[in-house]
């Protein structure tokens, strides 16, 4: 058996190239599996721990103003364990070093001690001292984006007065893992942050010395969330509730949960592809090894080695590259997991953002890779074992070739002999050819999808920031304001045009289905905000009836012509039936639009607007910002260029990484398939190639012939990959069709060209790597002996 081990080592060394390629692919698969699986585990675990340790509330509700007694009544609702009243307040912030105005969401902390729910975790400094000071703690993302820390100060218009707030701490909270301003679509941490302040500071601003305007509720184990929500809505109806909602409608919770869900999909598909390719490559390498070692196997068996011993020997050979792949892939996977976690940690902030190596996942990855290897090797090993010794020692008959379909059709006359060699060799091993085609196809498809993601996001960006949002600055008023505010805004420095808008909190009902949302009322012929579908067509807001995002219509099961029940959550809180005039295939959000005049009639409240869109002279925007920073009437200021920059940064960070990973793995696969195919072709047919050299074919010609086969397979693989890629893109678009956003199916020629270029590059590299081997082919040695 010692000699067999020695043979194993020699075989591994002799096949170092192909086995290294297998190891490389196995390492990629293992690394990817580990990183994706740990990421999923990491995110899910962090989320669960965080929610538990810092008591993330189960139900949330905001009201206009409610007395303290209402909180006690809420706490008495069956199923409610804790109902914590608090004050929420939004105001424009003046951040040192930031030209544009920012927006702060102020969250009160109780006069005595810590909040019981949604407990902030202090990262630096401390929470503000209770009392009447001007101390605040700010959220970490906001602090980092603006370079703020304890000792710095912020300006805010809080009680109708300019206040200087002193930052004493930086904190994070389970409630704002993902911090987003109400109307924005992506986080912009420079311009939006959470500000924890003593209750006293907000009491005068809100005019609520004792009452509250928000409630966080923790449910008792086993309590029914819908029942509690219904009870809260009944209880708080007369205090101007916007409707209670559970975690499923909590923006931060939803984003991070979606992210974890997406990881689950990726954790299966990508490593699956890579491990499948590993199995394929091993099969190729081993089947050729067994073919060339017929005589050796026969001798081993003639000497009395059992089938099991011979089989084990070749299985060990299959597992060697997996072991090497594991040795590289496991640490690489952990590394990758840490890197990915670091990226996530920038968006979702967890108290612990350290990835502990999960050896269980690593073991699973190696086990799966080993299984793939054994499956890939099984056929060849069986062939090795079942070879009768006598047969093995006879030289094998020349490989069997027969006239194929092409020949019968007479097509071979059209092909040069060298081309025929390529075609016949490929056709002789249809399974291997199919597997190679599949490998290339998957690599190609991966690249198409990676590229497609960029195009799709670009489309979203175009629709949102070029076609739909055309204002430079949007402002949201604290209170509904008279329409003449528009004239006042128009007189502000740099303002070229102003359009009013009104946002009405509503609940839309159709049958038993209900959605809480905000109805956006736009003046007829609005130029600064347009409704645009995914094909860049502008939809007019109907003068009567509502315009719904198609997705929202789908969720509510309504079509144009149907009518909806609209429960208005402000003013006299009336409930009306309104017709659905039209739907629009928008990419972002689940929105509902109405004409301003129509909405005024519908709500019975006219002349009031809740915000405005401004077109601004870029040369004077600085002056405008300075003015806006001091406006107590504003709770929100949106700046389109800043939002666009935030969007691009978010996308750039997260997509660059995944695109990079996809490209690396696609290259590894393509290289592995092509290089191995050529290596195997070379060693299987060394004799044939040496003959060609003797006959006077140049090295270049012989190289071309070896790569002819690979070229054929690669081209077919790319064609198949184009189809698979498109299907995958369609699948991504289908999976991405959520109420939050839709992914447009825009697969451009550029995506295919990109994929083709990368695969061709990988092909070129493997061709270069092989060229040396073909050049070094020892003609005399190849021809000296029988097969």
């Amino acid at each position: 058996m010692r000699m067999l081990t020695r043979k194993l080592v020699r075989d591994v060394v002799g096949q170092a190239g192909p086995l290294a390629a297998v190891a490389m692919v196995a390492a990629s698969g293992i690394a990817l599996y580990i990183s994706l699986r740990s990421m999923r585990g990491f995110l899910a675990r962090s989320q669960a721990d965080y929610y538990r340790d810092y008591r993330f509330a189960d139900v949330f509700v905001q009201v206009k103003r409610a007395p303290a007694a209402a909180a006690r009544e809420a706490a008495a609702i069956p199923g409610v364990r804790v109902a914590e009243p608090r004050l929420l307040w939004e105001a424009v912030l003046d951040v040192p070093g930031l030209a544009e105005p920012a927006v702060g969401r102020f969250v009160s902390i109780p006069p005595a001690g810590e909040p019981r729910l949604n407990v902030p975790h202090v990262r630096v400094g401390r929470m503000p001292a209770p009392g009447t000071g001007r101390e605040v703690a700010i959220s970490e993302a906001f602090a980092e984006a603006n370079g703020l820390g304890p000792g710095d100060s912020l300006g805010a218009v809080l009680n109708g007065r300019w206040e200087r707030l002193h930052v004493v701490g930086v904190a994070i909270s389970p409630e704002y893992i993902y911090e987003m301003q109400g109307t924005e679509l992506f986080p912009d941490n420079r311009r939006f942050g959470i500000v924890w302040t003593p209750r006293a500071l907000l009491a005068s601003a809100t005019g609520l010395e004792t009452g509250f305007n928000a409630l966080a509720v923790e449910l008792a184990p086993g309590a029914s969330e819908p029942d509690v929500i219904a009870a809260l809505d009944r209880l708080l109806g007369r205090y101007g509730t916007l409707g209670a909602y559970g975690r499923s409608e909590h923006a931060s919770h939803r984003f991070i949960s979606d992210e974890i869900e997406q990881n689950k999909v990726g954790a299966v598909i990508l490593p699956g592809i890579l491990l499948g390719v590993t199995a394929f490559l091993l099969n190729v390498v081993l089947s050729r090894l067994v073919a060339t070692q017929r005589a050796q196997i026969a001798v081993l068996k003639a000497f009395g080695f059992t089938n099991a011993e011979v089989g084990r020997h070749y299985l060990a050979l299959a597992l060697a590259p997996v072991a090497a792949g594991g040795a590289v892939g496991v640490p690489l996977g952990f590394q990758l997991a840490s890197a990915t976690a670091a990226i996530y940690a920038r968006y979702y902030r967890f108290p612990v953002s350290e990835v502990r190596p999960d050896w269980g996942v690593a073991a699973a990855a190696c086990l799966i890779a080993a299984t793939a290897a054994v499956v890939g090797a099984a056929l060849s090993v069986r062939a090795a074992v079942s070879l009768p010794p006598a047969e093995g020692m006879r030289p094998p008959a020349p490989a069997r070739f027969e006239a194929g379909l092409l020949d019968r059709l007479g097509a071979q006359r059209l092909l040069a002999p060298s081309t025929r060699i390529v075609v016949r060799n490929t056709a002789r091993r249809p399974l291997r050819a199919a597997a190679a085609v599949a490998g290339i196809a998957l690599a190609f498809a991966m690249l198409v999808v990676a590229r497609y993601a960029f195009t799709a996001v670009d489309r979203i960006k175009d629709v949102q920031f070029q076609y739909a949002q055309r204002e430079d600055v949007s402002v949201t008023f604290r209170e509904a304001s008279p329409r003449r505010v528009v004239d006042a805004l128009a007189r502000l420095p740099g303002v070229l045009a102003v359009e009013p808008l009104r946002v009405v909190p509503v609940a839309l009902r159709h049958g038993v289905i209900e959605r809480r949302t905000a109805l956006l009322a736009l003046p007829a012929g609005s130029e600064l905000h347009r409704v645009v579908d995914q094909d860049l067509h502008v939809h007019r807001v109907p003068s009567s009836g509502l315009l719904l995002t198609s997705k929202l219509a789908e969720v509510l099961r309504v079509a144009p012509g149907d009518s909806l029940t609209v429960a208005v959550r402000e003013g006299d809180r009336r409930t009306v039936r309104v017709a659905v005039a039209d739907t629009v295939g928008e990419l972002l959000g689940a929105n509902v639009y109405g004409d301003l005049a129509f909405v005024e009639a519908m709500t019975g409240e006219s002349g009031a607007i809740s915000g405005a869109l401004l077109s601004v002279d870029p040369r004077r925007e600085g002056a405008l910002y300075v003015t806006l920073k001091r406006q107590p009437a504003l709770v929100g200021v949106g700046i389109r260029s800043a939002a666009l920059a935030g969007f691009e940064k978010t996308i750039a960070d997260s997509f660059q990484v995944s695109l990079g990973i996809a490209v690396i793995f696609a290259v590894v696969i393509a290289f592995g398939v092509v290089y191995n195919g050529a290596r195997v072709a070379l060693s299987e047919r060394a004799r044939e190639l040496a003959s060609l050299r003797v006959l006077g074919f140049t090295k270049r010609e012989v190289t071309t012939m070896v790569f002819g086969e690979q070229t054929l397979l690669t081209v077919v693989g790319m064609l198949a990959g184009a189809g698979i890629g498109y299907a995958l893109c369609a699948w991504v678009a289908a999976v991405g069709n959520t109420e939050l956003f839709r992914i447009p199916l825009v697969v451009t020629a550029g995506a295919y060209l990109y994929a083709a270029a990368v695969i061709a590059g990988a092909f070129g590299v493997s061709a270069l790597a092989m060229r040396g081997r073909i050049r070094a082919l020892d003609i005399v040695a190849c021809l000296k002996t029988g097969e």
Binding site: A397, P398, A399, R400, F401, E402, A403, A416, P417, S418, R420, I421, R424, N425, R428, R687, E688, A690, S691, L692, R693, V694, L695, G696, F697, T698, K699, E701, I779, V780, L783, K784, T785, G786, E787
Partner: protein, 235 residues
């Protein structure tokens, strides 16, 4: 007056196997003239194949010089040697080395495509008596038939010299005779110089000259008064 085809002087070939030096050739002088048939005999390991490979441009000598007509083979680069093989040399080996993925005709056509003045593949196959088996793959032919395809492939380019290393080594005597007849016919009808390595002294009778090799040297050269037709040979 016959012209000299090969002119070799002081050929040596040394293989270094770690510390051991194997002297495969230790000073071979040789002249071959156009159109002659030369048989090389000698014990195993005496350097026959080494000499043939050097003449055919498959291998380079460690010392000495070889000229093919007025081409220097020593020191010629790979590209030049490839062109030399392509244009002037036909090889036949003990193992036929056909391309299993090509039919008989295609194996021959492979060469005629790259040779400067080839004969039609079918003619070459007829010369070796295989006019009927054009569309067969190597796996569908006997060893002798495969060897004749290899010969057809070698002569189809109308080479100046056919270098044959134990062409009948794997064949029975009857089949061997058929193969040798094919070689003799090429020599007769095309005027191709023929060099044949064999372990079979009987075959030596078909040559104009017989070279006896021993220990990397040409021990003796005998000249046959008459050249026997392979059909008259038997072993």
């Amino acid at each position: 007056m016959a012209t000299t085809l090969f002119h070799a002087r002081g050929l040596t070939k040394t293989y270094h196997m770690g510390d051991v030096e194997v002297h495969a050739l230790q000073g071979v002088d040789l002249d071959l003239v156009e159109g002659e048939v030369v048989i090389i005999l000698g014990p195993s390991g005496s350097g026959k194949s080494t000499l043939l490979n050097i003449l055919g441009g498959l291998d380079a000598p460690s010392g000495g010089e070889v000229n093919f007509r007025d081409h220097q083979l020593v020191g010629a680069g790979d590209a030049a040697l490839t062109r030399y093989r392509r244009e002037h040399v036909g090889f036949v080996f003990q193992f036929y080395n056909l391309l299993p993925s090509l039919t008989a005709r295609e194996n021959v056509a492979l060469v005629t495509e790259i040779a400067p003045r080839p004969m039609p593949p079918d003619d070459a196959l007829r010369l070796v008596g295989l006019g009927e088996r054009l569309a067969h793959f190597p796996s569908q032919m006997s060893g002798g038939e495969q060897q004749r395809v290899a010969i057809a492939r070698a002569i189809a380019k109308r080479p100046d010299v056919l270098l044959c290393d134990e062409p009948t080594g794997a064949l029975d005597s009857e089949t061997g005779v058929v193969v040798l007849q094919a070689l003799a016919r090429a020599n007769r009808e095309l005027g191709t110089t023929l060099v044949v390595i064999t372990h079979n002294a009987t075959i030596a009778q078909m040559g104009d000259r017989v070279l006896h090799m021993r220990n990397g040297r040409i021990a003796s050269i005998e000249t046959n008064a008459v050249r026997r037709d392979p059909a008259q040979l038997e072993w």
